[in-house]
């Protein structure tokens, strides 16, 4: 019976692994020859790479600048209100991206809550690179904030208190104790957030549109290329897969490094 059970468990595991790896393998077999034949040199691809890099780096910067203080506040205190804030921050992780796009459109679109105000001021957010950045920020910030909050919470409270008694202001405690102690974890969180921003599709499509050279990011370029040129789509797909894999490795290394570093104490 136990032998049968083990065989069943192994079969189930292998089946899942096959279902996960076959599509990726197919992407490699389709994409690799396409890349070698120069499919990444097309203007569509180059424009999409440019838009993706520019927007995702902007959104990453915003995530770091706005997310780090939020994570620090969430880590330091616990209250019902802050629990609700944490839930709000995490929500985009489980929301369908198309819903996120719709919500962004309702808020910042031409007829949206704030969009009308923007229109009065003479500019429109929707269907601009700024909209791409906003969509990426919306879906990606949770990944960073969550990791950063946990990293800050893991710091021994005594280290922060002792720094205060040594003469450090709260700001100095943050920059000279909390930040260096959690830097690796923050890097990992940033890698995850960046990967999510680079892969953003649904929210961008609804809120920012699919304008080549303006709002067409790599995932949107795959979608466009698929209609006319499967080879380019496959090449783009493989490119994104490689970048995503590298970012995931970076995130995992940061997390593992954090563990081994402090367990040696």
């Amino acid at each position: 019976m136990s032998r049968l059970g083990r065989a069943a468990a192994i079969s189930a595991a292998l089946l899942l692994l096959a279902l996960l790896s076959l599509p990726l393998l197919a992407l490699v077999t389709e994409g690799a020859p396409a890349i070698l034949l120069g499919a990444l040199g097309s203007p569509l691809v180059l424009a999409a790479v440019r838009v993706s890099l520019a927007t995702s780096l902007c959104s990453l910067l915003l995530v770091l600048l706005l997310g780090t203080p939020l994570a620090w506040i969430l880590a330091q205190r616990r209250s019902a209100a802050l629990g609700a804030v944490e839930l709000l921050v995490q929500l985009p992780i489980v929301l369908p991206p198309s819903l996120a796009g719709l919500a962004l459109l309702f808020a910042f679109g031409r007829r949206g809550l704030l969009g009308a105000l923007f229109a009065h001021a003479g500019f429109s957010l929707a269907f601009s690179p700024a909209a791409v950045i906003l969509a990426q920020l919306f879906v990606a910030s949770a990944f960073y904030v969550q990791v950063a909050t946990n990293a800050f919470r893991a710091i021994d409270e005594r280290l922060l208190s002792v720094a205060r008694t040594l003469g450090c202001s709260p700001a100095r405690v943050f920059f000279s104790v909390a930040l260096p102690l959690s830097l690796r974890a923050l890097l990992g969180g940033a890698a995850l957030a960046w990967a999510r921003a680079l892969g953003e599709f649904g929210a961008t499509l609804l809120f920012a549109g699919n304008l080549p050279g303006v709002t067409q990011t790599l995932p949107l370029a795959i979608y466009t290329a698929l209609e006319s040129d499967t080879r380019t789509a496959a090449a783009l797909g493989l490119l994104l897969l490689i970048v995503a894999l590298l970012l995931l490795l970076l995130a995992r290394r940061s997390a593992a490094g954090l563990l081994t570093r402090w367990s040696s104490r």
């Binding site: 021994d156 005594r158 280290l159 208190s161 002792v162 720094a163 205060r164 008694t165 040594l166 003469g167 450090c168 202001s169 100095r172 000279s176 104790v177 260096p180 102690l181 570093r261 402090w262 040696s264 104490r265």
Partner: protein, 245 residues
């Protein structure tokens, strides 16, 4: 408490979880040992004095200068109280070397000093405490006794006017304990720093102290020399403590 006497005057009350703390004490030159059972509020009392927790009522002052005064809404932040602290257990910064930890305190107290000046000051302190050989070591490589030595050097580097040591020997094994105890008594004697030491060990109390304060359930239950406490223990805890059981 008038706060006119030299040294640290404390008269505070606070509600900490289920414990209601109400303590008055005076720390002048010399050493005061604070003893009491687990949960008596010893560490919480230190946190109140250090400015890491806020008392509900009362007053804390250094000589004539108020550090906290509920009635006058004075609450000097922890970084400006000038009180050195050795928390219970591990407290060195693991991302810095031994010397880096001491330099950290010099830099926090004197941000205007150059890097070279900080290094010199840290080296001088380590040498004075006989810990020069540990300077370049990572915290993970230090023994318990060596860590306490560095932690004390770091506390002194911030030039405190008084020291609060929370069970400085508790984490040490029996072999390194006497050496660290001697080292602490010698250092605070030389520096003439008013020092409050929390301990639950009779032999430590005997080594450190001329005066003792016993805290139980947030209240001071007895005060005096170890000999006086031994002669006339007023609670079961004091009786057991002075007998060393």
């Amino acid at each position: 408490m008038t706060g006119l006497s030299a040294g640290l005057s404390v008269n505070v009350s606070a509600q900490i979880g289920a414990l209601s703390l109400e303590v008055a004490l005076q720390l002048n030159e010399g050493t005061l040992v604070l003893a009491g059972p687990n949960g008596a509020g010893k560490s919480s009392l230190l946190a109140l004095i250090l400015g890491l927790r806020r008392p509900a009522r009362g007053r804390i002052s250094w000589a004539a200068q108020p550090l906290f005064d509920a009635a006058a809404s004075i609450d000097v932040p922890a970084e400006a109280r000038g009180l050195g602290w050795l928390p219970q257990g591990e407290s060195l910064f693991p991302h810095l070397t031994a010397q880096g930890n001491v330099e950290f305190a010099v830099a926090a107290r004197h941000p205007e000093r150059s890097r070279a000046e900080r290094t010199d000051r840290a080296r001088a302190l380590l040498e004075r405490l006989g810990a020069s050989s540990l300077a370049a070591r990572k915290i993970g490589e230090l023994s318990g006794g060596e860590r306490q030595r560095i932690a004390l050097a770091r506390a002194l580097a911030s030039e405190p006017r008084a020291l609060l040591l929370d069970e400085p020997l508790a984490a040490l094994d029996a072999t390194s304990r006497p050496a660290v105890r001697d080292f602490i008594t010698q250092t605070i004697c030389e520096l003439l720093l008013p020092t409050l030491i929390v301990t639950h060990d009779r032999s430590d109390a005997a080594a450190f102290s001329a005066r003792m304060l016993v805290l139980e359930s947030g209240r001071v239950v007895q005060e005096g020399s170890l000999a006086e406490l031994e002669a006339a223990p007023q609670t079961e805890f004091v009786r057991r403590f002075t007998q060393g059981t």
